[in-house]
Symmetry: C2
């Protein structure tokens, strides 16, 4: 059976344009089924814009040109949650919101994973409420893969689900991050670091000092404190921190990449000579840009929920949505949650 991913079609800043585009790319390029969740009257015109036909009775989407049915369905949801709505209230009141309906599909086994580019707080709250947290896990964490100079990315968590954390939570994050690195990125024995402000154990804040003690005892390949500059070298595979620190790191990195690319573009346009140089060096730039492009990385998986949830940037384009669908499918097929459940349980027996 085809793995099916439910996509909150009304999540992102430009919903449902990017969501429909991403669903289409995924259905065409990947072996995956996609359920677009949202108001039919907003989704169908988007599908038609792409030259597709929708049969309301069967809820199936056809590519008339190729005379082929696409692995896309629509599930109706009449409401949606906007970016600037108070999260708690919106999640409670809007029972027919697209994110909520999508989460129910996943809970009820009609979809195997959830992708949303919506209000991060609302997606997290809905996921916890409707899908639930794994029994062994205290708090789900939002993870992100950072590009590195090495062969694979560095998994950083938490990047925003929990602004404040307890040391025991950082230990859980470490185990979940190591499973992500091993099962999805293929790292055999992932090196796990603790984000701090100096390599020595005595450096840091009370959280890092306490978490360091727990991590040294945990059944992971813990390499000690790391610093901000270690994220990009490829020398460490997983880095744990509280969600405030991780979110600041994520957004600082996004901002700096944008600034450097902007600066380079401006400077390269300054003279005819540098313009010619830019033309010739274009393949090199595009390659670097692609390596740094967050939309290539497929969103931020929420680790520790009972089912797969991947949260995308509000500004996600179609490619980012497609990659998030790919990641959700990979997580499901790699049985990531079963691995997490099992390993966190072992952690419990080690700790107690």
């Amino acid at each position: 059976m085809l793995t099916k991913i439910a996509v909150d079609a009304m999540g992102g800043d430009h919903a449902p344009v990017a969501e429909v585009e991403g669903a289409l790319m995924a259905a065409r390029e990947l072996r995956v089924g996609v359920i677009l969740v949202g108001p039919e009257d907003r989704i169908v015109p988007e599908l038609q814009r792409h030259g597709l036909t929708y049969h309301p009775k069967s809820r199936r989407v056809y590519d008339a040109q190729l005379a082929k049915r696409l692995s896309i369905e629509i599930v109706q949801a009449s409401e949606f949650i906007t970016m600037d709505e108070p999260v708690a209230q919106a999640v409670r009141k809007k029972k027919d919101a697209s994110i909520r309906v999508a989460a129910r599909l996943v809970r009820d086994g009609k979809a195997h994973g959830l992708v949303s580019a919506g209000n991060t707080g609302a997606v997290m709250a809905t996921s916890k409420l409707v899908i639930g947290t794994l029994p062994a896990v205290d708090r789900p964490a939002l993870s992100a893969v950072f590009p590195t100079l090495g062969d694979h990315g560095c998994v950083l968590l938490d990047v925003g689900a929990n602004a404040e954390c307890k040391p025991e939570q950082l230990r859980e994050f470490a185990v979940m991050g190591a499973i992500y690195s091993r099962q999805i990125l293929g790292v055999r024995n992932p090196k796990v670091g603790l984000m701090s402000i100096g390599e020595e154990e005595v450096k840091g804040n009370p959280l890092t000092k306490e978490a360091g003690k727990l991590l040294r005892e945990a059944p992971i390949n813990f390499i000690g404190n790391v610093e901000g500059r270690d994220i990009y070298t490829g020398e460490v595979d997983v880095i744990v921190c509280d969600g405030f620190t991780g979110n600041v790191i994520l957004k600082t990195s996004e901002g700096l990449i944008a600034a450097i690319m902007g600066l380079l573009k401006t400077e390269l346009g300054q003279t005819i000579v540098t313009q010619a140089g830019a033309l010739l060096s274009r393949p090199a730039f595009l390659s670097v840009k692609k390596r740094l492009d967050y939309s290539e990385f497929g969103g931020a998986p929420l680790l520790g929920t009972k089912q797969i949830v991947v949260i995308c940037h509000g500004s996600s384009n179609g490619k980012a949505i497609k990659n998030a669908i790919r990641v959700a499918r990979e997580f499901y097929e790699a049985k990531l949650n079963e691995h997490i459940e099992q390993n966190i349980n072992e952690l419990g027996s080690v700790a107690s």
Copy 2:
């Protein structure tokens, strides 16, 4: 009278090579006097390597070729503190350490500012111990200027002096940072932001929520919460955060800049065509590199001490030391500490 800056000649990773080189550049290029503090038998050979003559009796340095006396002196210090020494013990025991002797020169009015690329913890502890904190200031903060797409840099503090902070301290940092931005970077009415993980007041951790309340009442141009991606846009002039967060931001940025430059270099070397492109676009690259180069920014001034203290990266080269000397001189001549004292005092009367 020439402003004199005391340089801890034994601070950095490659001391005293970078320190002597930086002192020389400063003495030649800027209108400033430099006192190199450290073991004469380590400093003098370095001066000689640059073709200079040292007169031990007068403690003066001559450029024989130009038949000219340079505004450089040496003050003897027999010990020094290494990067990996336990700070508390080293600062207490090594009474003749170069940083300690240099700090005494500043305390006693024989120098107007202190520059060191040594162990940050040791420099801060020595500065607090020997030079002291301004009476109105609770805790000194380490500040750094980040490059931006705008006309001037963004002052971020604290970048590592205080891993944990109270909300009142962030308010003091805001006032000190605004004075830095106004007096040194020439920003008329600096916009001050609070580093958090969302623009809304409710987003953040307990520290940012409490600090936000105080900052809204403070006599500064407070623009509310900012995020990591706002550092580089030039839209905000001063950003305050605790020293853990600031240090992570600083090191993440350094690491990412190095990674991007490394990636670009590798990619540009891949084919003959991109190599040619790189050659033509070289001026553009160098311009971007210079704008992102931390050594151009002149180290991290410690704000809130009784005298001027500028701390440099351990890996500082001569140019970085020279720029730190320049910044120390500018701080002294702009009477930065008097402005801080006065403004923090006003803050007190507003708050009480």
